[in-house]
Amino acid sequence: MTDSPLENEQEEARWPRVYLAVVIYTVALIGALWLFSAVFSR
């Protein structure tokens, strides 16, 4: 990789937002699966 330090810093700064998106997505997914189960198991 020949990225400049500035590019690397910008790239690193992006990751916390990506991680947060993964966490929110997972919580929403588990919630959706619970809802699916609840709807069809009544």
Partner: protein, 565 residues
């Protein structure tokens, strides 16, 4: 199987071996053979990560589990995305920037050679045995479909994969993984479509889900906190998190995948691909198993799916077996009528009738399950096979008996693909750890590249044969997916503990890490031997014991120094 199905399977096998072997020209150097010169794009690495985790056991074992027990198993994966985030922040940059070949090599830089060798040894032991179980699953299928002996199928499957892994190294493993994942996705999609088209007239998809849900097959979140239960929300989130951290962060078969990426960021992206896709994909695999359950509400299933065991019972012509068969047939007919009535009642949507129809359906389902349980008990007692379990035979039997021509071949090819993608990655990782951590480190530190590449090929061949021998013994164990996960949990948590010490405890010393690891494994052994704690929690126990004991011992070391690198 028709000749068309045979042709599909044969075409797949020939293509994949040819594709893997032709990549051998890119693997003349050590870094090329073991790490693909760190040049692979994130999407190929991401698919390879998923293909390595998704074995034939996942396809065959979990569909069977969903048929028998529902979707509870999905909770096993709830900790995975969180583990991926933690690893993207820690292990991926640590390993990548350290320019190591194996995860354990990093431990020598952080601690000492003894800790590296011990962790690598535990990896070789647990994975060497684990890959045997991974080979056993498709051999079970083949022994049913082809009527071959299990020994012949084990060697045919294991040695085929060994050939292209030996020749092409990690390049062959990754690029065949990509194609194998495509075949798996297509196979699963077609399978789901065909099962839905086979539901009887008047039973819609939502009716099928209601029938499955009423029978307890759609539980995806079990919020009870019970340490003895294998699959709950908490065991998945906490125990699963620790297991996934260990598997993706300390198991060379996965670490090697993202070490082949072009950069740290591409390595991270490849792991996050699993974070997004794994749970939905597992949901669809389990859904297939659940829909097979619904399909057999309207089509008489075999009392015993394992054809060999069923024929042994039939040959005896005992009165008990005949009575059981009649009882089973009656129970199925009653359950089918009750299921149809329940669907009709839901359509009419009058509250009291629906409740009554649901109660009748559940009563019939219980009677049916009882008849089936008696059948399994009969096999266990009359065939003197105490470990017998039928779940692994459900899906392949369904495929062979009820899928159309061509689709059978496609799904068998997908199961082969799942098996071979995992086997190849494991063999490649076992060879890498054997050569880099043991052979080059302790026996021959200075040699030309071609020597280590040759050693890598010899090690791949050795582990391929070893895994085949283990596979011959593991086909008689219980649910295969659980066997692999239980076995992994025995070592994984403790290995994770050593890496936690390395990454997060600056004062940790080599002595603390070494003895902490041994204490961790001993504590897991004690927990498994003397308590009823479910296996996912072993990962937590092992990790916590290693970190606590390792930290305490490190603090008692005179002149303990902080993190060196």
């Amino acid at each position: 199987m028709s000749w068309v199905d045979w042709a599909v399977v044969a075409a797949y096998l020939v293509y994949i071996v040819w594709d893997g072997v032709r990549l051998s020209k890119h693997s003349g150097k050590v870094e090329g053979y073991f790490l693909a010169d760190r040049s692979l794009p994130w999407w190929a690495v991401g698919l390879s990560v998923m293909a390595t985790q998704l074995s034939a056991i996942t396809l065959v074992g979990t569909t069977g589990q969903a048929f028998a027990d529902g979707m509870r198993f999905i909770q096993f994966y709830y900790g995975l995305p969180f583990a991926m985030v933690i690893l993207c922040m820690t292990a991926v940059p640590f390993f990548y920037r350290a320019k190591v070949f194996t995860a354990y090599e990093y431990l020598e830089r952080r601690f000492d050679a003894r800790t590296r060798t011990l962790t690598s040894f535990f990896f070789l032991l647990s994975r060497g045995l684990g890959v045997g179980v991974i080979i056993a699953a498709p051999s079970v299928i083949l022994s049913i479909v082809l009527g071959w002996s299990e020994a012949a199928t084990v060697f045919a499957m294991g040695l085929t994969t060994t050939i292209y892994t030996m020749a092409g190294g990690v390049q062959a493993v990754t690029w065949t993984d990509v194609k194998q994942m495509v075949i798996i996705f297509i196979g699963l999609g077609v399978c789901l479509f065909v099962i839905l088209s086979k539901l009887p007239e008047g039973v819609a998809f939502t009716d099928a889900l209601h029938l499955a849900g009423a029978a307890g097959r759609l539980t995806t979140v079990d919020a009870r906190f019970d340490l003895r239960e294998s699959y709950t929300l908490w065991s998945g989130l906490i125990g699963g998190l620790f297991l996934m951290l260990s598997y993706f962060g300390c198991d060379q078969s996965q670490v090697q995948r993202y070490l082949t990426a072009r950069s740290v960021n591409e390595g991270r992206t490849s792991l996050l691909m699993s974070a997004f896709i794994k749970i939905p994909m597992q949901f669809f695999i389990l859904l297939i198993g659940v829909l097979v359950f619904v399909f057999y509400l309207f089509e008489r299933p075999p009392l015993i799916f394992n054809r060999v065991e069923a024929e042994r019972i039939e040959r005896r012509e005992s009165l008990d077996a005949r009575r059981l068969s009649v009882e089973f047939e009656t129970a199925h007919a009653a359950r089918e009528r009750a299921a149809i009535e329940y669907v009709r009642a839901m359509r009419d949507a009058s509250g009291g009738t629906v409740d009554q129809a649901r109660r009748d359906y559940l009563e019939a389902e219980r009677a049916f399950e009882e008849a089936r349980r008696k059948g399994l008990e009969t096999v266990r007692s009359e065939n003197s096979n105490r470990n017998f379990t039928d779940v692994n035979y459900v899906f392949p039997t369904f495929v062979v008996q009820h899928m159309p021509i061509g689709v059978v071949g496609l799904i068998i090819a997908a199961i082969f693909a799942a098996a071979m993608s995992s086997i190849s990655a494991e063999l490649n990782a076992l060879a890498t750890a054997s050569v880099i951590d043991i052979y080059r480190r302790h026996f021959k530190p200075e040699a030309p590249d071609r020597h280590y590449v040759l050693a890598g090929r010899v090690a791949t061949a050795f582990w391929g044969v070893f895994a085949c021998i283990v596979a011959l013994y593991s086909t008689s164990l219980g649910s295969l997916i659980e066997v692999v996960n239980r076995f992994g949990s025995f070592f994984y948590g403790s290995l994770l503990g050593v890496f936690v010490l390395a990454f997060a405890v600056p004062r940790a010393t080599a002595r603390g890490a070494f003895w902490g690891l041994l204490f961790g494994i001993a504590s897991v052994w004690i927990a498994s031997r003397y308590t009823e704690i479910a296996f996912l929690w072993f990962n937590v126990i092992g990790c916590v014991v290693v970190v606590v004991v390792g930290t305490l011992l490190s603090l008692t070391d005179r002149g303990a120094k902080g993190l060196a690198s």
